[in-house]
């Protein structure tokens, strides 16, 4: 842990907007307007000194945790909300817009899961924007810190304006995942357990490091339908209709409020804790409905600690990643090696998923 350093975005006192309603596109519109998103991007655009058509905007939604197409989904960011945001940007004259993601540990278990294929499965049309696979455009970059000399996805590196558009859901490694943890998905190596977990470096350190080096200018949270419970970040048999979109120019503040809405002390989340250590404490103004989600099922501290212990051993975490990957769209066939064993383990996973949850 280093002493807190002031960051021009994350260390600023800020406001988090919590918008609720019945029509998700209308609520998204309110979030864009009230949180001052278009004014924020205009300020950054003016200081960039580039033609509007060349000003590169990178949007990082949650895509690669999708295993199946669902409408609505509690697991991945709603593509319609992302495309709505893009349409608003295009109305302002921005044309150089990329939706970015990197491959992930589902590749231990299934084949053919590149970003374009998964984005297509969940409904991204790539009309008026492009979908970029950061794992296919790895460029050397010295992050310093725990990552040191590693790689960065070119589009993420070159973006003039970065947006984290996360999904509201629980996560067994850190209680919940929001706009900060979403950027962990921009780390370009697909074998994340090998490169970003375990001895010498923790995923939350890597996540905060990339956020520090390539700052996110704005964050949105798709909490229209949310995933909770033990495996909320990858599947949820009973999604929660939370009918909310959250927005802020400071993703650190936004993630803090996400924890409050779940009834979890945000400082217990490893990612938020690392952010707190790095950027210090800030004052947050909360505007909107602050009551906790109900019904809502959180992760037990025991699970978080156990997962942290397991990931210290690469092969063990790889084994569990595959054993827990219990469902997938048919277009992505299972990896053949040890297929019979993992099919049995994945069936067991489905049986036990409800065992490690706490009701609020």
């Amino acid at each position: 842990m280093a002493p807190a350093r002031l960051h021009p975005i994350y260390s600023k006192d800020t406001t988090v907007w919590i918008e609720t309603g019945e029509d998700r596109l209308q609520v998204m519109q309110w979030a864009i307007e009230r949180a001052g998103f278009l004014e924020n991007i205009e300020v950054v655009y003016q200081s960039a000194g580039k033609p509007r058509a060349q000003f590169l905007i990178a949007i990082k939604p949650n895509i690669m945790t999708a295993s199946l197409y669902q409408n609505p989904s509690p697991v991945y960011t709603d593509p319609e909300l992302v495309e709505f945001l893009i349409s608003r940007l295009r109305e302002q004259g921005y044309q150089n817009i990329a939706v970015v993601e990197a491959r992930n540990v589902y590749d231990y278990s299934y084949q053919g899961r590149n970003v374009a294929a998964v984005a297509q499965m969940v409904g991204y049309g790539a009309r008026g924007y492009r979908v970029e696979d950061l794992s296919e455009q790895m460029e050397p970059y010295d992050y310093g810190g725990v990552l040191g000399q590693h790689f960065v996805g070119r589009t993420w590196r070159d973006a003039d304006y970065r947006i984290s558009f996360a999904k509201n859901k629980t996560h067994w490694q850190c209680f919940y995942t929001g706009c900060l943890k979403n950027i962990y998905g921009c780390l370009p190596a697909w074998d994340k357990m090998k490169h970003y977990h375990g001895k010498g470096r923790e995923y939350y350190q890597c996540c905060i490091l990339i956020l520090d080096r390539f700052p996110v200018h704005f964050g949105f949270l798709d909490a229209w339908v949310s995933g909770d419970g033990f495996s909320g970040h990858v599947r949820d048999a009973k999604p929660n209709r939370t009918n909310t979109i959250m927005a802020s120019e400071n993703v650190f503040a936004l993630d803090w409020v996400i924890g409050e809405k779940m009834g979890v002390n945000p400082a217990l989340n490893y990612v938020v804790q690392e952010a707190l250590h790095r950027w210090g404490s800030i004052h947050i103004t909360r505007i909107g409905n602050l009551s906790e989600w109900h019904p809502w099922t959180n992760i037990r501290p025991f699970v978080v600690i156990a997962m942290d212990a397991i990931e210290e051993a690469y092969w063990l975490s790889r084994f569990f990643s595959r054993a827990f990957a219990s469902q997938q769209d048919e277009r992505f066939p299972p990896v053949r090696k040890w297929r019979w064993l993992f099919r049995a383990l994945q069936a067991l996973t489905r049986l036990f998923e409800g065992a490690f949850v706490t009701k609020t």
């Binding site: 842990m1 280093a2 002493p3 807190a4 209680f175 803090w256 924890g259 409050e260 009834g263 002390n265 945000p266 400082a267 217990l268 989340n269 490893y270 804790q273 707190l276 250590h277 210090g280 404490s281 800030i282 947050i284 909360r286 602050l290 906790e292 501290p301 025991f302 978080v304 600690i305």
Partner: protein, 280 residues
């Protein structure tokens, strides 16, 4: 619910450890009662066995007391942390001598749980501080040294933890034989300094007034302790006044920010090489 944003607040490992110690405390008390009432599976009950059962109950009680606040009640947790493995080892020995499986299993379980709680306490500290140069114990000593040396009514510019982090990172960067001496000083402060005020407990476990008394004792002392006093002053000052916040508090402004530095040519002066031919 709004949660206060605290940089050094509770972390998830401490939260889990608190719950685990509570459960362990109740478990040990319950076990002691059961073993006292039904001793047969464990040993033939005699005086020494009775003491062992009582010790187990006391360890449980201390764990319960300590888990009420693992930071504030740290000395209690420390004592329980020593007592639990001792009691576990005695149960194991008793079981081996008496040839009773129940006692052996109980002893092994207590030793395993004691090891787990030590591991978790270390992990919790690691998660809070991640020191680069100091050990976890030395880092805690450094925090208490900073807290003692910068103690004042007004709010200090830096939290004692930040002072300790500054010192830790500074010492991590430099390469000097002084580093070994500083570790030795912290060892002396942690384990020997409290003895000067007749407190046989670690410096980090003392309250702020007692820590102050111990430090005041060495300020006027001679020999080894005079060096200790100098070391403490040096460490606290370097950590506090070496930071921008500490500098600002005493009115120090870096040269580049002073009005008289503005417009001054600060480019380095270049002198001709006095030995252009290599000095031969």
């Amino acid at each position: 619910m709004e949660f206060p944003m605290k940089v050094y607040g509770l972390n998830v490992i401490e939260l889990f450890l608190t719950d685990m110690l509570t459960a362990l405390g109740w478990g040990l008390i319950l076990f002691a009662v059961v073993a006292g009432v039904y001793p047969n599976p464990f040993f033939p009950l005699g005086f020494l066995e009775g003491l062992l059962v009582a010790g187990t109950g006391v360890a449980g009680g201390l764990l319960l007391l300590g888990s009420g606040g693992i930071r504030h009640n740290r000395p209690v947790v420390d004592v329980a942390g020593w007592l639990l493995p001792l009691v576990g080892a005695l149960w194991l020995v008793e079981g081996l001598l008496a040839g009773r499986a129940g006692s052996i299993i109980a002893g092994m379980a207590m030793l395993a749980l004691a090891a787990l709680s030590v591991f978790l306490r270390r992990q919790a500290l690691q998660a809070r501080f991640s020191p680069r140069f100091f050990s976890l114990r030395q880092f805690e000593t450094m925090i208490q040294v900073a807290d003692t040396m910068i103690e004042a009514d007004e709010t200090p510019a830096l939290h004692p933890i930040e002072v300790a982090i500054h010192v830790d990172h500074f010492l991590h960067q430099i390469d000097s034989p002084l580093r070994t001496d500083i570790k030795r000083v912290l060892f002396v402060v942690e384990w020997l300094l409290p003895l000067l005020i007749l407190r046989p407990i670690a410096f980090s476990n003392l309250g702020s007034n007692e820590r102050r008394r111990a430090v005041e004792k060495v300020i006027g002392a001679g020999g080894l302790f005079r060096d200790v006093a100098r070391g403490l002053k040096l460490l606290a000052s370097a950590g506090y006044y070496g930071s921008p916040g500490g500098m600002a508090q005493v009115g120090y402004r870096p040269f580049e920010q002073r009005p008289r530095s503005q417009g001054v040519d600060q480019t380095p002066k270049h002198y001709p090489d006095p030995h252009p031919d290599g000095g031969g």
